[in-house]
C-alpha cells in the first residue's frame, strides 16, 4: 500500500528488485542502484519509465547527470532510525531539482510520514503488516511548522 503526500492511499504497482540474476526488465520494477550504475545503457534502451532504489549509504551525487531519465527514486530505510533518507530526499528536490517521484521504502514508521513529505518525499511504501489508517492520520498530524520546507518553501510555516 502506498501513501501519498496528500494523505491518500493507493495500491502499490511496483516491485522492488533485490536479486538481479537473469532479470527480465519491466516498467513496474524498481531497480537496485548498483545494477543501474552497471547497466545504464541497456536499461535506458529497454524501459520508457525507469525506477531505481537507493540504500541510505549510496551516493546520490552519482545520479546527478541521469536524473532527467529517471521517473522514480526510492530511498530505503534499512531501519527507521537511519535518517539519511531525509537529507537525500531534500537534496534530490532542492539541490538537483529532481522532477520525478521520490518514494520511501523499507522500514520507516508512521510517525516519520510527515517529516518525509516535508523533505520532498512524494509517496511512502507502507511496510507489510502495518495499519494504513495510522499512516493516513500521521501524514497530516501537524498543520503548522516552524521551518520552511523544501516542498513549498513557506507554506504553513511560521516564517
Amino acid at each position: 500500500m502506498l501513501l501519498n503526500d496528500q494523505g491518500a492511499l493507493a495500491e502499490n504497482q511496483n516491485i522492488i528488485i533485490t536479486n538481479t540474476d537473469s532479470l527480465t526488465l519491466h516498467e513496474d520494477q524498481i531497480l537496485p542502484f548498483d545494477y543501474w550504475l552497471d547497466q545504464k545503457e541497456p536499461i535506458k534502451q529497454n524501459l520508457k519509465s525507469i525506477s531505481i532504489w537507493l540504500n541510505s549509504d549510496d551516493d546520490i551525487d552519482a545520479l546527478a547527470n541521469d536524473l532527467s531519465s529517471i521517473s522514480l527514486i526510492a530511498l530505503n530505510f534499512p531501519k527507521f532510525g537511519d535518517g539519511r533518507a531525509f537529507t537525500m530526499a531534500h537534496l534530490l528536490q532542492e539541490k538537483y531539482g529532481f522532477k520525478g517521484e521520490i518514494r520511501a521504502i523499507g522500514h520507516p514508521i508512521a510517525d516519520q510520514a510527515q517529516f518525509l513529505f516535508r523533505c520532498g518525499v512524494d509517496s511512502i511504501d507502507i511496510p507489510e503488516g502495518q495499519d494504513p489508517n495510522i499512516w493516513v492520520k500521521e501524514a497530516t498530524r501537524m498543520s503548522r511548522f516552524y521551518q520552511r520546507s523544501v516542498e513549498n518553501i513557506a507554506a504553513n510555516s511560521k516564517y
Partner: protein, 571 residues
C-alpha cells in the same frame, strides 16, 4: 529529609510580566497537536501496536525515558529561563505526578523520576498552560539550546544571546530533516566574557563576537562533547554574519547527517565525525554546502527576527540610592551572609542590582534536587525580589537575575529558612552529580551518596572559601553525564569486578580555558574516595603560591607529581 516547613511569606507580590519569549497562537496550536500525537503514540504502545523499539525514539523526542525503576520525564527550560508561574507549575507537577521533587540537570532542564506513562499527556497539558513543553529533550535530534544563565543582564556580556537561542529553538523544533540524526545534537550560545555554559563541550558552540567593523556575529565551533570520549569543539568559522545563522546550521547538520557514523552508537557523535574526517575537510564540506544554500531562502527573514528580539527587551530597572552602610553592617554581623555575597552574587548591568545564584547543593543534599515547597518558595521570592524571573544553570543551580542590593539581606534570610542559602557557588561543594546507580539504568556506581559524603566532609565554609574557586563533578559511569572530565577534580564511578571504584581526574575546565582532566592513578573505593579528595585539597593548599593561585592554576604549574606522591606514597 529535605521537605521543609515554611511559614507563609507575607506580603506576597503578584507575578509580573517577565520579558521572555511568549507563545502566540501558532506556538500554542503547535503544542496542542504535538501532545495529541504523543497521546496517540502512548495508546498505540499500550495497545501493543507499537513495539518498545519503535516507541522508544518517539517517547524520547518527547522527553520520556525508561529508567531503572520507572519512566522519567525531562522538560525543556529553553536556555534556562523561567518565570515564577512556570516554577509554580513545576512544583505542582512534582506534587501531583512525582514524589514531591524535581531534579535540575546540567542541560538547564528539569526532570522528574516517577511519572506514570499514562499521566504524561496530562502533565504536558499542564505545562502547555504556562508555555512549556518537553519536545526534543532526548533522542537523536537537536536538543534544548543552552546558554549563559546570566544572559541579558551579566555585566561581562557583549549582547543578549537569548533571542538567538530562541531562533535556534524554533528552527530546530520538529525539524523534518534532522529528527533522526546519527546521535543527539546540542547547541550552546554564549555572549559573555566568561563561559558559564561550557559551550566548547557542545556539538555546536556559538560565541557571539564583534568583528573589526564593530558588527555582531558568531564564532562557530563544532564537535565538542563529553561522554566516553571528551573533545573540545574546534573552530570552523571565525565570523559568521548573523543573518546566515540558520543556513549555516543547516549546512553543519546536513553534512553530519550524511557522513556521521551509524555503525556504532559510541562513535556517532559529531565530535567523532570531525575527528575522523579532519576539521579541515569537515569545514570544507560545510562551507561547500553553505555557499550553495546561503541565499536560497532558508535563513530567518529579518521581520521575523525582529519579532523574536522584541520579546527580550530588558525590564525597567529602578534607579535608587542603595544603603551601602547597612549592607556592610549586615555582612559584618551575619555569619554566612558574607560568603553568600562573595560567592553567590554576580555583577548586573543595572546599577543597584545583582544576579543571585541559589545553590541546590545544600549540606548533605542531592545536587540539583529541589522539593515542591522549595520551588514554590523560589517562585514567591522571584515575585518579591527578582521581577518574577528565574534561571536554571548548567551547574544544577538556580538564579534570581534581578535582585536589588537593598533586598539581598532579606532574600538571604528567607532562603536560609528553606535550606536554600548555601553560600558555596563555585566552591568545592558546588558539586555536579548525575543520578548514578540510585536512579539511572546505565550507571555502574553511586554518585549522589559520594557527593553527599564529600559535602559532609567539607562542611566548614571558612575552609571551603580558603580552598576557593574549584569545581568537582561526579559521574556514575563513563557516559559522563556529570561532566567529570571537565571538572578541576573529576570523579568517575566504575564497576571493578563487582565493586564500585572511583577514578580521579585532575585539571579539567569547562570555561574559556577549556581542558580535559587527566587520570591521576588507580581508583579508590567508596570508603577511600573522600580521603583522597581531602589529600588532593591539602596538596594544593600546601603548594600554592598564594590564595590568588587557584586550584587549576596550581595544577597547571605543578603537574601531577605532588598529587601522585601524596595519594599513592610514591616518591
Amino acid at each position: 529529609m529535605y521537605k521543609e516547613n515554611f511559614s507563609p511569606l507575607a506580603p506576597a507580590s503578584a507575578p509580573q510580566d517577565v520579558k521572555m519569549y511568549k507563545y502566540d497562537q501558532f506556538d500554542d496550536e503547535f503544542i496542542t497537536q504535538r501532545i495529541e500525537q504523543l497521546r496517540s503514540q502512548i495508546s498505540r504502545r499500550l495497545a501493543g501496536e507499537l513495539t518498545e523499539d519503535e516507541f522508544k525514539p518517539l517517547r524520547l523526542q518527547n522527553g520520556v525515558y525508561l529508567q531503572l525503576h520507572a519512566y522519567m520525564l525531562r522538560l525543556a527550560i529553553p536556555y534556562g529561563q523561567l518565570n515564577s508561574t512556570q516554577m509554580r507549575t513545576l512544583a505542582h507537577i512534582a506534587r501531583k505526578y512525582d514524589k514531591g521533587f524535581g531534579h535540575f540537570t546540567t542541560r538547564q532542564n528539569i526532570q522528574y523520576n516517577w511519572p506514570a506513562l499514562s499521566d504524561i499527556p496530562e502533565i504536558l497539558e499542564d505545562l502547555q498552560k504556562v508555555e512549556m513543553h518537553a519536545i526534543q529533550t532526548s533522542g537523536n535530534c537537536i536538543r534544548n539550546t543552552t546558554s549563559d544563565p546570566f544572559a541579558g543582564v551579566a555585566a561581562d556580556e557583549l549582547t543578549d544571546p537569548r533571542p538567538w537561542c530562541e531562533i535556534i529553538r524554533q528552527w530546530s523544533t520538529l525539524h523534518p530533516e534532522f529528527a533522526f540524526l546519527p546521535r543527539k545534537f546540542k547547541i550552546a550560545v554564549n555572549a559573555a566574557e566568561d563561559d558559564r555554559a561550557a559551550i566548547l563541550y557542545h556539538d555546536v558552540a556559538l560565541q557571539i563576537v564583534k568583528n573589526d567593523a564593530g558588527e555582531i556575529g558568531f564564532k562557530v565551533y563544532v564537535g565538542g562533547g563529553q561522554g566516553r570520549t571528551p573533545v573540545i569543539a574546534k573552530l570552523v568559522r571565525e565570523f559568521l554574519e548573523p543573518q546566515y545563522l540558520l543556513s549555516y546550521l543547516d549546512a553543519i547538520l546536513r553534512t553530519y547527517n550524511m557522513i556521521g557514523r551509524r555503525d556504532n552508537m559510541y562513535k556517532a557523535r559529531i565530535k567523532i565525525t570531525v575527528n575522523e574526517t579532519g576539521v579541515k575537510e569537515f569545514t570544507r564540506l560545510v562551507e561547500l554546502e553553505w555557499q550553495r544554500i546561503k541565499d536560497t531562502g532558508f535563513n530567518l527573514p529579518d521581520d521575523q527576527k525582529q519579532t523574536i528580539f522584541e520579546h527580550f527587551i530588558l525590564p525597567k530597572f529602578e534607579s535608587y540610592q542603595y544603603d551601602d552602610a547597612k549592607f556592610e553592617t549586615n555582612i559584618a554581623d551575619n555569619n554566612g551572609f558574607d560568603y553568600f555575597v562573595k560567592n553567590n552574587t554576580f555583577g548586573h548591568k543595572a546599577d543597584g542590582y545583582t544576579i543571585v545564584s541559589i545553590s541546590l547543593k545544600p549540606h548533605g543534599g542531592i545536587p540539583g534536587d529541589i522539593s515542591a515547597d522549595q520551588m514554590d518558595l523560589v517562585a514567591q521570592l522571584a515575585d518579591d525580589y527578582s521581577l518574577s524571573e528565574i534561571r536554571a544553570t548548567h551547574r544544577q543551580n538556580l538564579v534570581l537575575p534581578h535582585v536589588k542590593l537593598d533586598d539581598l539581606f532579606t532574600l538571604w534570610q528567607k532562603l536560609s529558612k528553606a535550606n536554600l542559602a548555601a553560600g558555596n557557588i563555585g566552591l568545592l561543594t558546588d558539586i555536579i552529580a548525575c543520578p548514578g546507580l540510585d536512579y539511572c539504568a546505565l550507571a555502574n556506581a553511586r554518585s549522589i551518596p559520594i557527593a553527599q559524603m564529600i559535602a559532609e566532609h567539607f562542611d566548614d565554609l571558612k575552609k571551603l572559601n580558603d580552598l576557593g574557586d574549584i569545581t568537582l563533578n561526579i559521574s556514575g559511569c563513563i557516559n559522563a553525564c556529570a561532566h567529570h572530565h571537565v571538572a578541576n577534580i573529576g570523579i568517575l564511578g566504575v564497576d571493578k569486578k563487582g565493586e564500585e571504584s572511583y577514578q580521579v581526574t585532575l585539571g579539567g575546565s569547562s570555561r574559556k580555558d577549556a581542558d580535559i582532566g587527566n587520570i591521576i592513578g588507580r581508583g579508590f573505593s567508596g570508603d577511600e574516595i573522600v580521603g583522597a579528595i581531602d589529600t588532593i585539597t591539602k596538596v594544593y593548599l600546601a603548594g600554592r603560591k598564594n590564595q590568588a593561585e587557584n586550584f587549576l592554576a596550581y595544577y597547571r604549574r605543578a603537574g601531577q607529581t605532588p598529587f601522585k606522591e601524596a595519594l599513592y606514597n610514591v616518591t
